[in-house]
Amino acid sequence: MSVHEQFAEDLALHALGSLQGEERVALEKHLEGCAGCCRELEQLRGDMALMALSTAGPVPPRRSRQRLLEAVAREPRRVQAPARRGWWMLVPWAAAAALAVGLVVVWLQKSDLQQRIAGLQDQSTQQLAELQRAREVVSTLTATDAMRVTLVAAKTPPQPQGKAIYVRDRSSLIFLASNLQALPAQKAYELWLIPTSGAPIPAGVFKPDAHGSATVINPPLPAGVQAKAFAITIEPEGGSSAPTLPIVLVGAGE
């Protein structure tokens, strides 16, 4: 590959770094596609290096070497060297591994928590639904405008009745009464839980409405009492600690 003559002199100036302006732009553009002129430029730089040899003779002061080596020592470079591997070389890897394990544990915990939360949400939803049904039942049973009908044998005059529903384990009691007779002044009906052993336990004081209906919902009771029967008596409005005879209604458990 030969040098393009029109660029020969500019190549020398370019090697010296003195070519400027449009001439430099034109030459650099030419060099992008001309291997021959690139080669000539390298040769001219080699010629420049030879030119530098003409100056050889002076040597730098002794302190210069020390100055350089001190500067080098201040800028230690530990790249590309096959460094000996100590345990500390594993620290970043160990840290990365620990982080990975930690992330897995956190992820598993998060997953477990999410499952538990989902379970609790399902349970809560179910309980809310049950509560809503219970409220509807209680609301119906206790509604003052509810029509209460007691079915008896035909041609039998209405009789006072009461129905107690008791769950021992929960000490929960619901009592429904109908066709109760009106009470004397300052008197009230009192419900009694008659245990299998021991004295009757007060289970709520109540007055029937104009139709003789009444309800008692979960009166305060001792826990886990085994009930044998339930009874109704007429007592002072404030209630009594022991039933006063006669017994108005009584019924034993099935």
């Binding site: 002199e9 080699g46 030119m51 350089l68 530990r78």
Partner: protein
């Protein structure tokens, strides 16, 4: 290599390898081999020992910080350092920012500068060639090389036509090449 001095007969490749691996001994060996070439060209350009020493430090530290600047497949280390030192010295002389990206500088030269004897012989040959040049040609070449003057500035100083100055500069450089081709 740590803990021992690098031997003087190491090749430039071995010195560069030490530098690339961060071995400070490699820089000591580099200095011992090429500091005179780099310093003398900078001193010739700048005419000031302190400034020339600064150029020396700057050029070597650039190589220490980034050994990849020099590509051994594209030239020899000694001539490359000489050319870089001359560029930096001219930049300093003209109080301008470095205009040459040293990573782009490729130097093709025949004589080996690695050995002291080779450098001494090459130096004698160069001085002989310059001495045999017509003075106007040597003057144009030296003004361009050591003073960093453009051909326009040389033309203005000497009163010679631009084209003539261009021709003399190129012819002077090529004459050096031919001296080593024979």
């Amino acid at each position: 290599m740590s803990g021992t001095e690098l031997k003087g007969d190491l090749t430039d490749i071995a010195i560069l390898s030490a530098i690339r691996s961060g071995d400070e001994k490699g820089m000591a060996a580099l200095y011992d081999r090429y500091s005179a070439v780099v310093y003398s060209v900078a001193l010739r350009v700048l005419g000031d020992t302190g400034a020339a020493e600064d150029i020396l430090q700057d050029v070597f530290m650039q190589l220490w910080r980034n050994p990849g600047l020099f590509d051994s497949s594209r030239g020899s280390l000694g001539p490359w350092l000489a050319v870089i030192a001359r560029h930096r010295a001219i930049d300093g002389l003209r109080k301008r920012r470095p205009e040459t990206d040293i990573a782009d500088v490729v130097v093709s030269v025949e004589p080996d500068m690695a050995g002291d004897a080779e450098r001494a012989r090459a130096m004698e040959k160069v001085r002989g060639t310059l001495g045999s040049m017509p003075s106007v040609q040597r003057q144009a070449l030296e003004m361009a090389y050591f003073e960093g003057l453009s051909h326009s500035e040389i033309s203005a100083k000497t009163g010679e036509p631009l084209g003539t100055i261009k021709t003399r500069i190129r012819a002077g450089l090529v004459a050096l090449r031919k001296a080593f081709a024979t």
